[in-house]
Each structure stands twice: as structure tokens, then as C-alpha cells.
Amino acid sequence: MADLAHELGHHDEHEGLGVDNRKLAMWVFLASEFMFFGAFISTYLLFKGREGLTPPIPRDLYDIPFTSVSSFVLLMSSLTMVLAHNALSRKDQPATRSWLLATAMLGMVFIGGQVFEFSTFVQEGMTMRTNAAASGFYLLTGFHGTHVVIGIIMLLSLYGISRRQDGLSEAKGLNLELVGLYWHFVDIIWIVIFTVVYLIP
């Protein structure tokens, strides 16, 4: 990391925190995202146990085994993301590509699971119009899903870049690190959502 920063020349003329600009910016952005999801999670918690909600409410419909599997898939995608990063630091381009693709695939499986879950819930009579808890559930998990989709697009873009002749270079390695940060964040948020929204009664 230190060598890389030196090559980019950012730290020669400036005082700084010793963190690359793009990484620092990503950290700030993710801090902001915590507030975004925090507000949605609090809203769901506020609504979930209310009296007078028109049934069905989300808790009646949760399929915990199914969601556990899709959560596990998303968790594993963080592992493959780490492996992609690791492969890049070994300058192993093919392995980097494979792990990137694997990460994106796992993300897509998760999204597929969410689409299935949403459509099942709708068939069982719960739309976001049904009651406030359902609204909270759909917007929270839906916005999380949107974040996953954006992450998949970024992963596939990285994959596309790496297939060109020059591959993912050391300097661009930071891009991979950035996408990695984002991906792990999205994953962590899901762990919170799964625990707080699905598991805690």
C-alpha cells in the first residue's frame, strides 16, 4: 500500500491521513450509508409489532430456512471477494478474474432469491400497500437489493476491464479494493438486516 501511494505521488507534496483519496472517500460514503440503512431499519422496527396492521405482516411470511441459505450465499461472496483481492496482490490475473466473476454470480444468486421471496410474499397477499410494516420491509430490503445490484454492475465492470490486454494493474488494484470495501459493506448490512429483521421475533 505504501509503495502504491508513493507511485501515485499523492503523499509527496501534501499532509494527509496516509489513506488513498479514493479509499478515504469510500469510507466516508459508507459511513453515510450506515445512516441511510439505520433510518430504514429503525423504521421497520418501529412498525413491525404495531397493533392494527392489516394482515399479513412480514413476520407471518418469513421463510427462515430459505433466507438463511441466500444469506449464506451472500456471506460467501465476501469470501470470494477477498480471494479476488488476494489473487490480484499475487498478480494472478486469471484467478482474479475468476474470483470476481464468482463474487458477481453469488450476488446474482442472492438477488434471484430476493426476487423469489418478494414474488412469493406478493402471492401470499402482502404488498407494500398492505400495511406499514410491509412497506418498511419492502423498502429496506429493496434498497439493500439495489445496492447489491449496483455492486454486481461494478464487479462485472472490473471483470470487463481485466479482460483487456493490460489487465487490472497495481494502480487499478485500488479500484478492486474500493469495490471490495463497498461489497463487504453491503454484506455487513445484510447480516444486520437478517438478524434484526428476520431472526429476532
Binding site: 499523492h10 507534496e13 501534501h14 499532509e15 494527509g16 491521513l17 489513506v19 483519496n21 478515504l24 472517500a25 466516508v28 460514503f29 459511513a31 453515510s32 450509508e33 445512516m35 441511510f36 433510518a39 430504514f40 423504521t43 418501529l46 412498525f47 404495531r50 397493533e51 392494527g52 396492521l53 392489516t54 404488498t127 407494500m128 400497500r129 398492505t130 400495511n131 406499514a132 410494516a133 410491509a134 412497506s135 418498511g136 419492502y138 423498502l139 434498497f143 454492475i153 465492470s157
Partner: protein
């Protein structure tokens, strides 16, 4: 005259450094700052016009100038405009133009992202204002506002705070509130991007030796403000998404009949809204902390205390939101807690005020226009701060809430505070911006007119409010005896408007015909005064090295035995040399290249906005798809564009 290494990407890359297209494609923080400034000033005129219409309506009892619908639209748009389209972008203008200059950098950390922030803000503002062309509103079922609504009334009409459930579609029919919620969503995105960018800039692009506690106070206050933005904007984003989904897709967040909770809106809104108050006023505090020392010829009294007080205000700002909700039935424990936390905010604020007074105390004061505005800021902000503390007393607040007393209070902090600070800054940095001096005579005329007009307008609102005059109500009865003071208020508003005309005249004339300013007309203390006026594109020919707080001052001045400043012998030569070397860098300087993509992304977002508002129509859905595709395409083009600095500029 200019060459840019042109590499083939999707489009040919922009090259010009002058003329119309150079502004469209610029990533130069100074040009972006200037665009922010002019745009915000334009909206100031619009928001001011809206205020004048309100004041004509309220000049006498039972006014008939505006209809109820128009009155609601005007007070909503006045507040929304002044907060989101005037003070915030005006602060952004100062931060953009000044931060890199103050901390010794060539640009911000992400120049293209910076341009994106501006364009998203601009097109978000235009989207919001397009409600006057396309928006619809009308009476809800069983409502009493059943008159025909004119174009002037076809604007958001639920207040800048947009309380639910009034904003729900059964009470607010038509599209105007969709323009409001989606417009604010877009404008908020601009500020969020900018906050990420500027935090990184302040942390990572400081000149050698400029440790955090050697930064100018303005840079510090900008840092605090940008953290406030980063943490509070996502909350309003969530609230705005909720109301958008409630209105567009039938979600039930604020529908009490189905488990929803209108009070949730108030919590989310004020969790954003109270930090927002400090977002509006802290930049002005930063400006004043730069202006007062220069014109007192003394260092800022208690630099560290001012900095930490600013940070403390930022932290406490997140813990007081429910004092906006004392009449919302939040319970006595919450009322006591938020009353107390509100009182504690007065402590860091008081620290700042005493430090500013300490700065002026025994100083050699020069009463220039920026100094007058800065002193005006301290005085008026103190009044507004004190009336603010009275709100923390819950039973008193019950009397004051929803009356003109509150209107008086927040205009003293936001106009007497933020706007006075902004004008202090506009005059203070005018020579740096244009290379010329403004007319001191006209500047002082502007100050006194504005100062008198301001107090005529807002001081009487205190007693009007205590006499029971209610906010957001389009008429008052003749037998209330509120007429005379309301007439005074209206006269005051027109005095303010006159003072703005004086300011504009001064600005336009002085830009062309003012006396040449030189690099350091004020004998100032910070780095932006060590480079030519107006600053060259690369800012610093050589990135400076800093050895202390107020480094430039210490290079010009030493102290005698009684700690009075004594100008060093070589000071004049130093300034002359800086002027020369600033214009003649000894090696080529690499600067970020201009780009089309920021404006492309900025343009695509309102399309998405219209698409959401009109998603029920086929063309609306088409617009949504086109907008999203345009956004993604622009970002892909953006990602393809090399982002390393390129040799740029003519004087290398």
C-alpha cells in the same frame, strides 16, 4: 493556446479553457465555485421575490393580493429555496472556491465529482422549479381550498418541512409535492457527493506543514459541515423516499389508519433538519472567523476553542432535533431531555461569540464592508441565539410554536447569521475573485440598508408572534390590531430588497471598473492571499510549505516587546515576489482535464425524476428508462476517461 493530450474515448475530449464550453466542461474548483455562487444568487432573487409577494399579502389585514393556494405555494417555496437553493449552495460556492486555496492545493480531491455535484444541484433546482410549469394541485376531497389554482399556486404547498400526513396524496392531490420530494432528493444527492469530496480534500490535500490545527477556521468549519451533511442527508433521503413511495406506489409509511406514523416523518425530518441548521450557519461562522482577525489586525482569539466549539456544535446538533416537536405529543421525559440538550448548545455557541468579541477587543479595527457585515453577524446571531434558547423552555415553546416569534428567531439566525456572514465573505474575497476592489461607499450603503431593513422586518415579528399572530396563515383579521406592525415588516422587506439592488450594482460595476486589487489588499493571514488575484488556473505555482497557523501573517509580521505586530522589513518585497512567482511557474503543471460527463449525468437525473412522477403514463415510463440508461451510460463514459492530471494551461 491550450493543448490537452487527447485520447480516444467515446467522445472527443473537451479542450477549451475559455468561453461557454469551458464552463460546461470545467472541473476547475474555482469556476465551479463561481457557478455555484451565481446560481445561488439567482435563487436568492427568486426566493426574495417570493418573500416580497408574501409581505405584500400580509401588509394589511385581510389581504387579497394572493389566493390561499398561492400563499401556501409562496411560503413553501420561499423556505425550500432559501435553505436548499440559496444558503447551502452559497456555502458550497465558498467552499469550492476557497478550500483548495486555503489549504494549499491545486484542486479538490475529485474534480469531476465536484463538477457533478454542481450540475446535479442545478438540474435538481430546475426540476423543482419546473413545478410552476407542469405541477398540478387542487382541493382534496372535502377540503376547503376549492378555488381554481393559478400557475403561481402550482408549486409545493406543504411548507419546507412537508409534514405528513398533509403531504400524503389523499390530502395533497396533484403532482406539486412529487416535484418537491423528488427535487429535494436530487438536490440532496448533490450535497452528499460534495461532502464526500470535500472531506477527502481537507484531510488529504493540505500543503506540507498544514496540520489540522493549523488550518484556517473556515476550513475547519467546512470540515464539520461536510460531516454533518454526510450523516444527516441520508436520513432526509430515507424520509423523502418514504413520502415518494407513499404518494407514487401506495406504501403506508405515514398512513396512521394502517399502522403508519406521521410523527415518524417529523423525527426523520428534524433528525436531518436540525443538523441542517448548523450546516447553514457554520460556514458563515467560518467566514466571520476569517474576516474579524484580518480587520482587527490580531490573531483569532482562542483559535482552538473556536475550532472545538464548532465541532461540539456539530455533535450536539444531532441530539436536539425533538425541540422542533414539543407540541407533537412526544412525552414529558423526551421534552425534558431535549429541552436540556438544546440549552447545552448555547455553550459552544457562546464560546464562539466571546472569542469573536475577544478578537476585536483592543484590536486596531478597520470598518470595511466585510468587517461591518461580520460585526452585524455577531450581533444579530446573538439575538437569534438567545431567542432560540427561549424555545428550549418547553412551556414557553408551547406558546411560541407556530407563531411569528419562531419566524423572527430563525430569520435572525439564518438571515442575520448565515446571510450576513455570506455577504461578509462576498465582499472580503471579492478582490481575490475578480482582481479588483469593490466600491466601499456602495458596500457600506448596502450594509446599512440591509441592517436597518433586516431589523425592521424581523424584530417586530417577535412581538407580533407573542401577540398571537400565527404562521403560515394567509390573512389576519382587522380587529386583531396586528396591522400596523405588519406594515412595518413589509416596508422593511422592501428596504432589504433595495439593499440587494445596491449590492448588485456594486458587483457589476466594480468587476469591470474597480481599482486593481493586487494579491493581498487586506494585509491578510491565509494562503489564498499569497497567490495572484484572480488566481491562475493552477492556483499555486509552487505548493507552499506551512510552518504555523496564519503562516502568511508571520512571514510579514513580527512582534515587538509589547506583543504589537511590527511589519518585517522584507514584507513588501515578499508580496511582490509572490505576485511574480505566482504567475510564472518554473515547470509545467499538471491539472485535471475537463469532461463532458458530469453535466451528462446531471442532466439525466431529472429525466428519472419526471419518469417517477409520471410513471402512470407510457411516456413517463419511457422517460424513466431513458433517464436511467442515460445515467448508466454517462457513468460508463466517465469511468473510461483517464482521470490522471494532464499537462494543461499555457504558462508552463
Amino acid at each position: 493556446m491550450t493543448t490537452t493530450a487527447s485520447r480516444s474515448t467515446i467522445f472527443r475530449r473537451p479542450k477549451t479553457t475559455t468561453g461557454f464550453w469551458s464552463w460546461i466542461t470545467t472541473v476547475d474548483h474555482k469556476k465551479i465555485g463561481i457557478m455555484y455562487g451565481y446560481t445561488a444568487f439567482f435563487f436568492l432573487l427568486v426566493g426574495g421575490l417570493e418573500a416580497l409577494l408574501l409581505r405584500i399579502q400580509l401588509a394589511g389585514p385581510e389581504g387579497q393580493f394572493l389566493s390561499q393556494a398561492e400563499y401556501n405555494a409562496m411560503f413553501t417555496m420561499h423556505g425550500t429555496t432559501m435553505v436548499f437553493l440559496v444558503i447551502m449552495p452559497m456555502s458550497a460556492a465558498f467552499m469550492n472556491f476557497l478550500l483548495p486555496l486555503m489549504i494549499g492545493a491545486r484542486d479538490v480531491a475529485f474534480p469531476r465529482l465536484n463538477a457533478l455535484s454542481y450540475w446535479v444541484f442545478l438540474f435538481g433546482g430546475i426540476f423543482l422549479y419546473s413545478t410552476f410549469l407542469f405541477g398540478t394541485t387542487g382541493a382534496p376531497a372535502g377540503g376547503f381550498l376549492a378555488d381554481e389554482v393559478s400557475r403561481l399556486g402550482s408549486a409545493p404547498n406543504a411548507g419546507w418541512f412537508g409534514y405528513a400526513p398533509n403531504t400524503e396524496s389523499q390530502y395533497s392531490v396533484g403532482t406539486v409535492l412529487d416535484y418537491w420530494s423528488i427535487g429535494l432528493q436530487i438536490i440532496g444527492l448533490a450535497s452528499l457527493l460534495s461532502s464526500v469530496n470535500l472531506i477527502t480534500t481537507i484531510f488529504n490535500l493540505r500543503a506540507k506543514g498544514m496540520r489540522l490545527l493549523r488550518m484556517p477556521v473556515f476550513a475547519w468549519m467546512s470540515l464539520v459541515v461536510n460531516f454533518l451533511l454526510a450523516f444527516s442527508l441520508p436520513i432526509i433521503a430515507v424520509a423523502l423516499w418514504m413520502i415518494t413511495f407513499d404518494r407514487q406506489f401506495g406504501s403506508q409509511f405515514f398512513q396512521a389508519a394502517n399502522g403508519g406514523d406521521p410523527i415518524l416523518w417529523q423525527h426523520l425530518f428534524w433528525l436531518f433538519g436540525h443538523p441542517e441548521v448548523y450546516i447553514l450557519v457554520l460556514p458563515a461562522m467560518g467566514i466571520v472567523s476569517e474576516v474579524l482577525p484580518v480587520f482587527s489586525r490580531k490573531p483569532l482569539f482562542g483559535y482552538a476553542a473556536v475550532v472545538f466549539a464548532g465541532a461540539a456544535i456539530g455533535f450536539l446538533g444531532f441530539g436536539v432535533w425533538a425541540h422542533h416537536m414539543f407540541s407533537s405529543g412526544i412525552g414529558t421525559v423526551a421534552q425534558a431531555a431535549f429541552g436540556l440538550s438544546t440549552m447545552t448548545i448555547a455553550i459552544p455557541t457562546g464560546i464562539k461569540i466571546f472569542n469573536w468579541l475577544g478578537t476585536m477587543w483592543m484590536g486596531r479595527l478597520r470598518f470595511t464592508t466585510p468587517m461591518l457585515f461580520a460585526i452585524g453577524f455577531v450581533a444579530m446571531f446573538t439575538i437569534g441565539g438567545l431567542s432560540g434558547v427561549t424555545h428550549s423552555v418547553v412551556p414557553a415553546d408551547w406558546q411560541q410554536t407556530d407563531t411569528y416569534y419562531v419566524v423572527a428567531h430563525f430569520h435572525y439566525v439564518l438571515f442575520g447569521g448565515a446571510i450576513f456572514g455570506i455577504f461578509a465573505g462576498l465582499y472580503y474575497w471579492f478582490p481575490k475573485l475578480t482582481g479588483r476592489m469593490y466600491s466601499e461607499k456602495l458596500g457600506k450603503l448596502h450594509f446599512w440598508l440591509m441592517f436597518i431593513g433586516f431589523n425592521l422586518t424581523f424584530a417586530p415579528m417577535h412581538w407580533l408572534g407573542l401577540q398571537g399572530m400565527v404562521r403560515r396563515t394567509w390573512q389576519y383579521a382587522a380587529d386583531t390590531n396586528l396591522g400596523p406592525w405588519n406594515m412595518v415588516v413589509t416596508i422593511g422587506a422592501f428596504v432589504i430588497a433595495t439593499s440587494i439592488l445596491v449590492f448588485m450594482w456594486n458587483w457589476v460595476v466594480s468587476r469591470r471598473r474597480g481599482v486593481q486589487a493586487g494579491i493581498d489588499p487586506w494585509d491578510a493571514r491565509t494562503l489564498e492571499w499569497t497567490i495572484p488575484s484572480p488566481p491562475p488556473q493552477y492556483n499555486f505555482a509552487e505548493i507552499p510549505t506551512v510552518t504555523s497557523l496564519d503562516d502568511f501573517w508571520h512571514r510579514k509580521y513580527t512582534e515587538d516587546d509589547e506583543e504589537r505586530p511590527v511589519r518585517r522589513e522584507g514584507a513588501d518585497a515578499l508580496v511582490a515576489e509572490l505576485e511574480h512567482t505566482g504567475r510564472h511557474p518554473d515547470r509545467p503543471i499538471h491539472l485535471p482535464a475537463p469532461s463532458y460527463f458530469p453535466i451528462a449525468v446531471g442532466l439525466s437525473l431529472p429525466l428519472v425524476g419526471y419518469g417517477i412522477v409520471y410513471h402512470g403514463e407510457v411516456w413517463g415510463l419511457a422517460l424513466l428508462v431513458v433517464g436511467l440508461l442515460a445515467t448508466v451510460t454517462s457513468f460508463i463514459g466517465w469511468a473510461q476517461e483517464p482521470s490522471e492530471p494532464e499537462p494543461f494551461g499555457e504558462e508552463g
